[in-house]
Symmetry: C2
């Protein structure tokens, strides 16, 4: 009886509660909180791994997104892709010398290498020595690798997955270093950091270079570099017709899945963080919507390719976003939904206009009160930054949105997963654990039959 | 080979990764994110259930507590009991008529009954009709029930578990109604709401009445009501010698575990919320420390009594607490640790004193700068509330703590569990799901052999 029940469970056959109840508690308690990560409960190994990072996406972002997407005319509040995939949470603190609040570089180093380092570090340790990244290790195993991001491709998060540098600020060095990494697919912003000479070197190495929707659609080589903006991509909320992260994700998957040895793809919703830094809830929700759409692309791919693990997290929390503020027990996402463009774009459109009140009303979706006009007028006189922030603060006030900082906080971040190996990520973990679990899911060298693009052996793994 | 591997897994024997890789992915993916709550993966049923609620304990509280407890002289950051037990998160929104931000009453109604209701509701629906609570159902099954809280025992959270009322504000009604509930153990504050006459009625029903450490220690009856303060218990940080929640939890467990049919105990760290409402990080960390100690008591009980489920969550997030604020990438828990008493108690001690600067320095653990003195002096002149808040804000500034509201926010809250049934709570869920899962873990009426204290049948279950 016991054996039958256990085998039924493992082969996915439904068993009645009464039968399960007859099995001793411990036999079925494979995944209590403290045991969820036990290695001997090990998963089948994925062939492909899609790592998705919502930069700055602390837990208030997916919660807010649920209510932002809610249709108030129905009784139910629908679950989002985040709700469907939640498995745990992760701590994000950097190496002790940098305190408890991480930056994107140290966090990405932890997620890419399994080691803590100082804020600013791009996959180097506190002695500035390189730390082996997941992408390097995957390459050494003959797997394909790629990134699809909305920041410049040489920004901290993708940089820590692809290269090493003592400082995230060395953008040109970082861009140059990508040439030697053998990364198959590089999609995002950053034209300003790639000279014609550097791009020619990429092309000489067999890369197709794409700069827009059309050239990306045509690209078919195993190796593609696509740079679609001088620095970061436009805010999703302003970019309805342009290339969006979900499209980059789809293309990256289509290119990488040609490779027989499997792939590791990093997808980053980079600008969630930028919206948080600006305390801009309109752009934050726009970026969340596009990041959710990208996760749905990955989820769909994983449904069709059951050997694919999708693991999603954030590197840290940005802005101290809160859903409800100033004593009011309310949040009004309809205010945010009615705004037609990002506050910085509204400010830019109106800063040099004398008669702007009706345009403003049309763009933000409500008519400000006298007291609100007065604040806006004062801010507009001070200049673009003040005007932008005043617009954001007005939307905050009307929607009940709160912020505590233009920087980061130490709050734990959510972890989502689906596919083979997903259960390794259940419960609480440190961000370095996430990398170590992914390393453990990559094939052992002896499992590789043929490694055409094999890099140097990685001695420390 | 495959069968051997599966049996090895189930008997806890470590198996080589290569052997696992031979097992088809789906066979081992018992708990992917979307499947973690599948009923046919059901647990052994617990005999005892300990429900623990950190009132207002959004995810920033346990994260902050980790860093608050960290010893900066060691390289590692130690995990807390929260980290050890994390299994998922929960949404907290009330019934649609109350928007997205819940109060404690609607949240406790959801957690106690599995139904959404309006803010203010004590286990009644939007038509003010009673909703069956977990405690009533447990009673009807002959189980013992109890509460141990740091607020008055008739405050919103315990009230929604024990009784029904159209408004949480009807404190006297609520206290009176407890008499008929048959609740076995009632421990907390609230002497002001229980007249001598009402207490005499409790005693006539067989309750022992305790008012302090000594009388509680002596209490041995199955039925005990203990009220240890006029309203709420003192802040943990000011109450080193007094009765604390961990002691109430220990006593409640000792009393309830005498009962043969098992028990349901609610433990609430009520004042985490009150500290959040006051934007008081010193008291918040003190309450978190005591709530953690209470969880450790429950965890220890569950280790010794393997038929005990401990399920821990929060009703909502209070204050919009953030760990890091105002653009600084830093949080300084040592500032908080050095404060000797709660800000309100410091303010009370010094408000009527003319020469208070050295006492203040001694109590807060640092010597304020001129600009800080100036703010404190102005606030002290305005009165106790302003002085208290100015002290809190000064500690915030020095520790890098941020807040967005004196009220609640809609942020999802963490869920922790251990013991039989714990895996039902993995992943994302609504607060009503938590109640429904607990209902599903209570015995079916036909499983009860003997129901000495059986209440009325609960028709709607």
């Amino acid at each position: 009886m016991r054996l039958t029940s256990l085998l039924s469970l493992l082969t996915g056959v439904a068993i009645a509660i009464t039968a399960v109840a007859a099995v001793p508690a411990n036999a079925l308690e494979v995944f209590t909180a403290s045991e969820s990560n036990v290695p001997n409960a090990g998963p089948a190994r994925p062939k492909n791994i899609i790592i998705m990072i919502g930069d700055g996406m602390g837990p208030a972002y997916p919660t807010a997104y649920r209510y932002f997407k809610d249709n108030p005319d129905t009784q139910e509040i629908e679950q989002t892709v985040f709700d469907r995939l939640l498995v745990g949470m992760a701590s994000t603190y950097p190496e002790r010398s940098s305190g408890y609040v991480t930056d994107s570089a140290a966090a990405a180093t932890a997620l890419a290498t399994g080691f803590k380092s100082y804020n600013g570090a791009i996959s180097v340790d506190i002695n500035k020595q390189p730390l082996t990244t997941l992408m390097e290790h995957a390459k050494s195993l003959g797997m394909a690798t790629g990134i699809a991001v909305t920041s410049q491709v040489n920004h901290a998060t993708p940089a820590a997955f692809l290269t090493h540098n003592e400082s995230r600020k060395n953008y040109l060095d970082i861009a140059q270093s990508y040439l030697a990494t053998g990364t198959d697919v590089i999609l995002g912003g950053g034209q300003d950091y790639f000279s014609q000479d550097l791009l020619a070197q990429f092309v000489a190495k067999g890369y197709e270079y794409a700069t827009d929707k059309k050239s990306l659609a045509k690209a078919k080589s195993p190796k593609v570099i696509g740079l679609f903006a001088p620095v970061q991509l436009p805010w999703a909320v302003n970019n309805k017709e342009g290339l969006q992260l979900s499209q980059l994700t789809k293309k990256a998957l289509s290119l990488l899945s040609q490779q027989e040895q499997g792939f590791v793809l990093l997808v980053e919703g980079s600008l969630i963080d930028w919206a948080g830094h600006s305390n801009d809830i309109v752009s934050a929700m726009g970026e969340m919507q596009e990041f959710a759409a990208s996760i749905e692309v990955a989820e769909q791919f994983a449904r069709q390719n059951k050997d694919t693990l999708v693991i999603i997290t954030a590197d840290h929390n940005t802005g101290g976003l809160s859903i409800g503020a100033n004593g009011e027990y309310a949040w009004h996402p309809e205010v945010i939904k009615n705004v037609k463009a990002s506050p910085d774009s509204i400010a830019k459109q109106l800063i040099d206009t004398e008669a702007w009140l009706s345009s403003f009303t049309q763009l933000v979706g409500f008519e400000p009160l006298d007291s609100e006009w007065s604040l806006l007028l004062k801010a507009k006189e001070k200049g673009l930054d003040d005007f932008t922030l005043a617009i954001s603060r007005l939307i905050d006030k009307r929607s009940g949105t709160g912020w505590t900082t233009f920087g980061h906080t130490a709050l734990d971040v959510p972890v989502y997963a689906t596919g083979p190996g997903a259960k390794l990520f259940f419960g609480f973990q440190d961000n370095t654990d996430i990398a170590n679990k992914i390393f453990s899911l990559l094939p052992k060298p002896e499992m590789i039959q043929d490694t055409p693009d094999k890099g140097a052996p990685v001695s420390e793994l």
